[in-house]
Symmetry: C4
Subunit: 232 residues, 4 copies
C-alpha cells in the first residue's frame, strides 16, 4: 500500500552510510507523501545493512503509526513537528556526521565563508540555543522540533531557502523537497562544516563572504534567474 | 571443542581493520564463555588477513593457555584482569586507533561535549594515571589491567555503564556484554575522540553538555525506561 | 565529429570523483582542440555517474556552443577566458576540493614549504583578490577568468610554469598541457594545501623552503636539464 | 636473472598506493640482494598501475645500472648511500606521505609521545638539518643520503634500531631488514606523525613518554627479551 513511499525512504536511508555520514544506526531519513498525509521513517535501532523497504514505518501527521511492524525512529516526533511546520518539505534527515556535530557541540552557527556555502544557502548555518531543562523533561523529541521551528521564526529564516540546522549540543537536521534532496543537504552540510573548520585554522581572521558574492552564487542556482543546471 | 567461542572471537577481530581501527597487528579482541570460565583471544603478532578461527588461543581465568597452538596476544594479562574484576563483561577490545591514542598521549579524559557521547556513557571517558616505574618493572600487562580497575574504583565508575577507558600514554581498551559490543564501543570511542578534538578547535570554551541532556540521552538508550530500538 | 575530444573530456571529468576531489556536481573539466579552435566541457549540473561522452558540450573560442544538446557548465566563460589568454594550455579543471577551498576562503596564497610543492611550481600558489562588486554584477564567470589572468600579469607569473590558482572566497582552477595533466594538478594542489595546512599547525614559524632547494627540485622535473622520468 | 629480486621490489612498490602513502609517482621502494651486491629499484616517473616486475631497474653498489631498460628512480643515489652506510638493511622506502611531509616541512623531529611510537623505536623520529647550498649544487641525491648518514652519526643513532628519518623540507625515508619491512615502517611513520600532530593539538604541554615506558614497550618487541609475536 505504501510501497513506493517505503522504497524512497529505504533508498535514502541507505545513502547515509555510503556517503560516510553515519556509522552503525547514527541517523535516519523520512520521506512524506503530502497527498495522503503520511510519512515513512527508518525503524529505531535497526542496522542499515539488514533493513528492507518493508521495515520502514508509516506515520501520519498526528504522530500515529498507521502501518508497519517495527517501532519508528526515536526521533520520529522531531520529524513530525518539522513536517507540520514547514509545509513544502518532502524529506528530512538526521545524522551525527563528524564535523556538523563538532560545530553543534561548539554551540556555533557556521559562518558563510565561501561560494560553496553560498551555492546552497545565503547566510550562516543556524544553530539553535541549548534546550531549557523543563523542555527536556517534557516530550524531548517534540521539543527538539519546536526549538528548530522557533529558531527559524525568531531569526526570520525561510525553511525553503535554508534547509539545514544544527541542534546545539546534539547534531544536524536537514531537509529538502524530497528525501533524496534532504540527503544531499546532509552531505553538503558536513562538507561546509569541514571547510569552515579548516578556513578558521588557516586564517583566524577570515571574513564572511561579501554580500554581493553570496547573492550572485545563491541566485545562480536558485530562484527565477537561476542559470545553473539543465532546463527541465 | 571451543569452536563457537573461537568463531566469535575471530569474527570480532576481523572487524577491527574493516572499521579502520587498526593497521597491521595494532589491536586485539577477546571473547569469554563465562560458563566454562575461558576466553578466546587473538594470537600475538599474527596478521588479520592470515588468521583463521582455529588460531584463536583459549585461556582460563587463571591465565593458563588451555587450548591452541599459538601464543596469545601479549596483552592477554590485561584482558585477564578485566574479566576477573568486571564480572558482567563478555568481550574486550584493545586498539591503537588514531584519535583515541592522541587523547591518551595527551593524558586527558575526553569531556562529554554532546549527545553522541551521552548516548553511550553519562560522563567523561576516563584516562588512567601514568603507570609508576615499579609497576612497569613488574608484570606490565597485569598492572595495566590493575590500573584500569583501580581508576574505576577510585572514581566510583561502573564498568557496566562506562565501557571504555584510555590508558595514559598508551591507548584505549573497551568492553561490552559480548565481543561484538566491545568492538562497537571501540568504534564509537574513536568517533567521540575525533568529535571532541574538533569541538575544542572550533570553540576552545565549549562547555560540557548540561546534566539534564546527558541524563535524557543516556536514559533513552539504557536502563528500564529506555525507548530506543526495538522491543525484544 | 568531436568524438575523440569528447572522450578525453568525459574521461578526465570522471577522474574527479574517483580522486576524491568532488562530491555531486562540484567541479568540471574541459579539453581543447587548438587546431579546430573548440573545446569540450562538462554539461551543467549533470551527475558524474550518469554522464556519457556524447553529453560533453562543444564550444568555440568566441563562446558559442557549436555542438551538443545540453547546456555547458555555468563556468564555461571562465574556461573561455583562460584558453584565450593562456595559449599553451590544453585542459582546465575547476573543483571545490576541501583544503584548496579552505585556503581560498582564508584569502591566502599557499606558501611553498617543501619539495613536494617545488616539484610542481617554483613559488607560492597564488590567490586572486576578492572580486569588486561591479565586476560581480557584470558577466561574473568571464570576470572570474579575467581576474585570474590579471593576477598572473600583475605578479608576472608564467601560466606554463604555475598551473594552478585559488580564486578568493571561491576555490581552485588548475590547467595543463592537456585535460589529464590539469586533473593531475587539481589533485596535487589539494595535497599541497593539506600539507601546508598541517605544516603551519605543527610549526607556526615554519619558513618557506629556501631558494636553492626550490630551484633544485623544480629543475629536476622541468626545463632542459630535467632528469626525472623516462626519456621520450 | 634478477627475477625474485625484481618481484619483491615490484610488490613492495605496489603496497605504497594501497596503503595511502603515495599518489601518482610520489614514492619509491628498493630491495637489495646483499650476496650479489645489487638492488632493484622503481623506475623513474612510471605509474604504479602500469609497472611490471621487469621494469624494476637493477643497480650495483657503485651506482651502475647493471640490468633493466628504464632509468632508475631519480632518488637512486640516496638509496645507494644508505645501502653502503647501513650494512644490515635490506630495503628502503621514500614517500611524500602527508603527515610525515608536514613534520619534515615544519623542520621538527617527531617527539615520542606514546607506546605506539615506543613499540617501533626508542626515541624521537630524527629530522636532518636543511641542506647547505653548496651540497645542493653538488650531487643532490647523494648528498641527501650523506646528510641522513651524518645525522645518525652525529646523534649516535643506530640505523638497525631507528629505521626512519625525516629529511628537512622534503619528506621521509624508511628502511628495514627487507623491502616489506621498510614499507611497514613507512606506514607506521605516517601514523606516528598523525598521532603526534593530534596529541599536540589536544594538549600543547603533553610530555614525552617516560623512559621506563619507552624501554618496556621497545624491549617487548625487540632484542633478546622480546615476547611479542610467535616463536620462529
Amino acid at each position: 500500500m505504501f510501497k513506493k513511499l517505503r522504497e524512497q525512504c529505504w533508498k535514502a536511508n541507505l545513502e547515509l552510510p555510503k556517503l560516510g555520514l553515519v556509522i552503525y544506526t547514527f541517523g535516519n531519513v523520512s520521506s512524506i507523501d503530502r497527498n495522503r498525509g503520511v510519512f515513512a521513517i527508518k525503524p529505531s535501532g535497526v542496522d542499515y545493512d539488514r533493513m528492507e523497504p518493508k521495515d520502514m514505518v508509516i506515520v501520519d501527521l498526528d504522530g500515529n503509526v498507521v502501518d508497519g511492524e517495527l517501532r519508528p525512529s526515536s526521533d520520529v516526533n522531531t520529524h513530525l513537528v518539522l513536517y507540520n511546520a514547514f509545509p513544502h518539505i518532502g524529506g528530512i534527515v538526521h545524522t551525527h556526521s563528524t564535523h556538523a556535530v563538532a560545530w553543534a557541540q561548539a554551540l556555533r552557527p557556521v559562518p558563510i565563508y565561501g561560494t560553496t556555502h553560498a551555492d546552497h544557502l545565503a547566510g550562516d548555518i543556524p544553530c539553535t540555543p541549548l534546550m531549557a531543562d523543563e523542555r527536556i523533561a517534557n516530550d524531548y523529541e517534540t521539543e527538539t522540533g519546536n526549538q528548530i521551528v522557533e529558531s527559524f521564526r525568531a531569526e526570520k529564516l525561510n525553511p525553503d531557502e535554508i534547509q539545514m540546522v544544527l541542534v546545539a549540543g546534539h547534531g544536524p537536521f536537514t531537509w529538502g523537497v524530497n528525501a533524496e534532496k534532504a540527503v544531499y543537504h546532509a552531505k553538503v552540510l558536513e562538507e561546509l562544516c569541514r571547510m569552515a573548520y579548516l578556513t578558521e585554522r588557516i586564517n583566524p581572521d577570515a571574513p564572511r563572504l561579501k554580500a554581493s558574492l553570496i547573492e550572485k552564487h545563491y541566485s545562480r542556482k536558485h530562484g527565477k534567474n537561476a542559470y545553473y543546471g539543465q532546463k527541465n
